[in-house]
């Protein structure tokens, strides 16, 4: 493959307008995207108006997008549609807004009113923006949500992050132990399983604050703990480098391929 000719021939930037197909919104979108990306990248030099411009758009569109999608997928689907779930969707679909309201009032007895409780609670988040005196009402939905979240979090954490992890560690030892009898024993397995146990115990001990980390045992295990933690962080660091680079590659690919058309595949 002659890569150099590929470079020379295939310079086909995205087209906003062509004589055959006329104006292309897709092409325009790619151009805008590319320019905004470059604005963002200009931050590498220093903070500048172009970057600030792109950033202010970002803040606006990300929340604006959230508004649209939550309105439909959160409120329309989970409040309105649940309320009318006993009614015929085909009939509702063909009604205009006022007819629909009239229809709903007529069929008030077959509506589900439970979602309204949540809707009212949720709308209380508006209170700080409407009245300073009753801004405290906003604490009600948050209290519900946090109480709810805390209630489910306690058993879930106990089960998944503590008991299951203890079980997993113990289970590894039962497997190694059984392997002694059934002839699949491997010294490395035993050793690595032991390293795992040591690492968990040492890490837990490192984060134990009620005793001084002194002496050959206390101090030594704590030191071992921080070493294990550092190995863990090292792995995370290596992985993070990988992730950030991937994101940049993805962006460069967009610029080279979709925008400039330098590569074609």
């Amino acid at each position: 493959m002659n890569t150099l000719t590929m470079l020379a021939i295939s310079f086909q930037p995205a087209k906003v307008w062509t004589p055959d197909t006329g104006f292309s919104l897709d092409g325009l979108g790619i151009w805008i995207s590319a320019i905004l990306s470059l604005f963002i990248f200009s931050f590498l030099y220093k903070d500048n108006p172009l970057y600030k411009f792109a950033e202010s758009i970002f803040v606006g569109v990300s929340i604006g997008y959230l508004v649209g999608i939550v309105y439909h997928n959160g409120i329309e689907a989970n409040v309105y549609q649940v309320m009318v779930s006993k009614l015929d969707p085909a009939t509702l679909k063909n009604l205009h807004y006022f007819q629909e309201i009239k229809y709903l009032i007529q069929h008030y007895h077959s509506l589900d009113y439970w979602p309204l409780v949540a809707l009212v609670m949720g709308l209380l988040t508006l209170s700080p923006f409407l009245t300073a005196r009753h801004a405290w009402l906003t604490s009600i939905p948050f209290a519900f949500y946090m109480g709810w979240g805390s209630g489910v979090a306690i058993p879930a954490n106990m089960q998944a992050a503590i008991l299951a992890q203890l079980y997993g560690t113990t289970y590894a030892f039962s497997v190694v132990g059984a392997s002694l009898l059934n002839g699949t024993f491997n010294l490395w397995n035993l050793l690595w399983t032991f390293v795992m146990l040591l690492g968990i115990v040492a890490t837990l001990w490192y984060f134990y604050f009620s005793a001084e980390h002194k002496g050959w045992l206390g101090g030594g295990v704590a030191r071992l703990g921080i070493w294990f933690v550092m190995v863990g962080f090292g792995a995370a660091f290596g992985f993070t480098v990988m992730a950030r680079v991937s994101l940049l590659i993805g962006r460069i690919e967009f610029l080279l391929k979709d925008w400039l058309g330098l590569i074609t595949y």
Binding site: L66, A164, Y167, G168, V241, M242, A243, S246, L247, L256
Partner: protein, 283 residues
């Protein structure tokens, strides 16, 4: 001495230059690399592969455009495998930015495999609430998602008629850019005992290895490397895009390691040089 010290403080523009070169060159001079498949990816592939025909797999799209380069190839390969094996597919998103992906990718691939919406696959769209949705899906998917992404009541969709909650699903997969797999393990796997695995960005990957050992996660696809391995397993070859991205990735890692080593060399040499001069001064 100056030279050693300078090794520590090479202008970052030079570093960026090297970085940019390592990133861009493979796009024009692509090279294929050997793919070594890791155990967690093999497990991931096998979990889907061992499902019987007609089994139902749900995929949760919990990532935004920022994680697109890493996770989209996973999503594509995964849905490819699911359609190849004639499994049923349900997609949804717990991150608002994941919704477009959860709709576009299955639709694209469904066209290639002649799959019919509503019979072979369903896209349920986005739902706010994360933990709330995960829990409610365990009890009743029909009330967590009253409508699909197109606005049809999901009780009217043939595929969803017999699917009430997690016990009717054969596998749950999370494609995540954040800590959502933690939530799935805590609130779905332990509570409802559903087989679960995840494809995650590399940033989060190291955190999930404990779950592999406890089998709370059947398999894991960590970052772009995981995606490339998995894609290779599914299609027996890497797509051009992933090959090129991995090539860039390789070069960039090499450059980074080189620079880190250079910096540290400078650090140590400067330190030992200083020590030597100090001793001389004392003598």
């Amino acid at each position: 001495m100056q030279f050693f010290e300078r090794l520590q403080f090479i202008d970052r523009r030079i570093l960026f230059l090297f970085l940019a070169a390592a990133l861009i060159l493979p796009f024009f001079f692509p090279f294929q690399q050997k793919i070594l498949i890791t155990q967690e990816v093999k497990n991931f592939h096998r979990t889907i592969d061992s499902l019987p025909e007609g089994a139902v797999v749900a995929i949760s799209f919990d990532y935004g455009p920022s994680a697109m380069p890493e996770i989209n190839p996973m999503a594509r390969a995964m849905i490819e495998q699911i359609f190849q094996k004639n499994l049923k597919l349900i997609t949804y998103a717990l991150w608002q930015d994941g919704e477009p992906f959860s709709i576009q990718i299955p639709e694209e691939l469904a066209k290639q495999h002649q799959k019919i919406y509503g019979e072979h696959y369903v896209t349920l769209g986005f739902k706010p609430g994360r933990v709330a949705v995960i829990l409610q899906m365990g009890e009743d998917i029909h009330t967590a998602f009253p409508m699909d992404s197109k606005g049809t009541r999901i009780s009217d969709i043939p595929l969803m008629k017999n699917i009430r909650n997690y016990s009717d699903l054969n596998l749950l997969i999370d494609l995540a850019a954040g800590a959502d797999p933690d939530l799935y393990v805590g609130y779905a796997v332990e509570r409802y005992h559903i087989p679960f695995q995840a494809g995650v960005t590399a940033v989060m990957a190291a955190n999930f290895y404990p779950y592999l050992q406890t089998r709370q996660m059947k398999g894991l696809l960590p970052g772009l490397k995981g995606a490339s391995e998995y894609e290779f397993m599914v299609t027996q070859a890497n797509s051009r895009q992933v090959t090129q991205m991995m090539a860039s990735q390789s070069l960039v890692h090499l450059i980074m390691v080189l620079f880190i080593l250079l910096g540290n060399m400078g650090y140590f040499l400067t330190k030992s040089y200083k020590k030597q001069t100090q001793q001389k001064g004392r003598g």
